[in-house]
Symmetry: C2
Subunit: 123 residues, 2 copies
């Protein structure tokens, strides 16, 4: 199994790969945070640990720009794997804390990846 | 028609919305740039202008983190709208320039959005 960039903290400037052959699933998590990030990093680390251990998890890519908008894309083998993760008890508690404190706004879009293109500069 | 955050430069800290009712399509464009960004901003502005005028374009969200990874998600009504944009002549010339100079690596994933969740903090 391949993990995405976020999982590879020691190689931040390394490349990334398409994480699977189509079809697979992506959750597009678009966020804007509040100013109260107490406890957020610890929770994010714990969720990364948990999600990595989930059946069907293929990896993730994440970016947050200077304007505060964050986009995290998680990749999954099937839609059922996504549902199982969404309803995981510890994850649900984290979601509740997120809505209570850390997120000003978010959208989650569950999407089926049907076609892919990859480019890598020749050495 | 609603435009995403990227189109709304005067309100960078404003919120964002889900851009349509399901099903709709998303292209997830994950990038890593070279160190040669000459001409890139002008081209990006021109492509934003062109894509906004395309039939079926619903909006976009974009973020690039300190580690250099960029994620741009464009939203479309149908897969045919995506194909038409991909094969647009001026866009194809821009893609060629991008592969020649600006992009070290990228992936494009075309995905069908099937379910959405939205959260907005109560005032």
């Amino acid at each position: 199994m391949k993990y995405g960039l976020v999982m590879d903290e020691e190689h931040e400037l390394a490349g990334f790969d398409l994480l699977s052959e189509v079809p697979y699933y992506a959750t597009i998590f678009t966020t804007r945070m509040t100013n109260n990030l107490d406890g957020y990093e610890e929770m994010a680390d714990r969720m990364a640990e948990l999600v990595n251990a989930r059946k069907g998890f293929l990896g993730m890519h994440s970016a947050r720009g200077d304007d505060g908008l964050g986009i995290t894309v998680c990749y999954w083998r099937t839609e059922e794997d996504i549902t199982a993760w969404r309803t995981d008890l510890e994850h649900k508690e984290a979601q509740d804390e997120g809505r209570g404190r850390w997120y000003d706004q978010y959208t989650v879009e569950v999407a089926r990846v049907e076609r892919t293109i990859e480019f890598r500069r020749p050495n």
